[in-house]
Subunit: 146 residues, 2 copies
Amino acid sequence: MRKEREIFGKYLSRHNLRDTPQRELILDAFLKREKHFSAEELYDIVKKSDPSIGQATVYRMLKLLAEAGLAREVDFGDGVMRYEHSYNHPHHDHLVCRECGKTVEVMDSVIEELQKRVAESFGFELTDHEMYLYGLCPDCRRKTQK
Amino acid sequence: MRKEREIFGKYLSRHNLRDTPQRELILDAFLKREKHFSAEELYDIVKKSDPSIGQATVYRMLKLLAEAGLAREVDFGDGVMRYEHSYNHPHHDHLVCRECGKTVEVMDSVIEELQKRVAESFGFELTDHEMYLYGLCPDCRRKTQK
DNA sequence: TTGCTTGCAAAGGATTTGCAACATG
DNA sequence: CATGTTGCAAATCCTTTGCAAGCAA
């Protein structure tokens, strides 16, 4: 977390941006979160510490965090953008339960390699990808089963 | 296309829905399209034949087509839902050019198999997935190169 | 006739933006 | 002080919905 703060601080000064209490507050909340969350969820959290903060500030800050390389956008296709840590948190894909929404981060280097090959077979230069595996998690399978 | 019309007709009667000129018109336009398109794009097309048609009708019809199994939603994550044919058009994923938006349908059974295994290794029962490979298409690579 | 359909406009939900007041470097 | 920054509300964008009038069966 120390390192992340440092990165963000440098990002601010390098871009002539200012360090404000609101940004500090949101950065704190962001660093404490472990899982994916939406702007709305983060807003609800920081609002507890500073009820006067505006949602727009949270949305703007998430953009900054992404640009600074600390956050990454994740789109589960439900109309709400979510964010996750990207610093020291290498690329991975998501396994999502259709029933309860639980998510698991997954990574398979063989799949990654095959993706690159598929792209190349069409003459494409692969820059990135998104892969979402949807299904039923162990708990929900049990409940559905009977 | 004969078959698709038949399927849609059956879908309508089975659900006590009605055959209207608007639905026919939209179905025609849909069947003629080869690639992905948004509701807006389809609306622009049918409007030429019937300027009085409403967008809502197009949106509603696309829902029906999806329910009838003729269309499938595709989400490239740019905020606009697109549709493609699903009848006689088996599952596949998409390779999308970040530069010009060109898309190529791809399918790799080895990847599909590995996805299932990854899900199972976490106790999930895989129901479906989404995979988007982003990169630069041959044309855009050439232009970017120099 | 019954009740599904339509077009319209208003509503929705998530995110962005204009702006005047305000704070940071 | 020059500029970023903030909170607010209004504006966007895509999609959905309520509704009265219009049609298919």
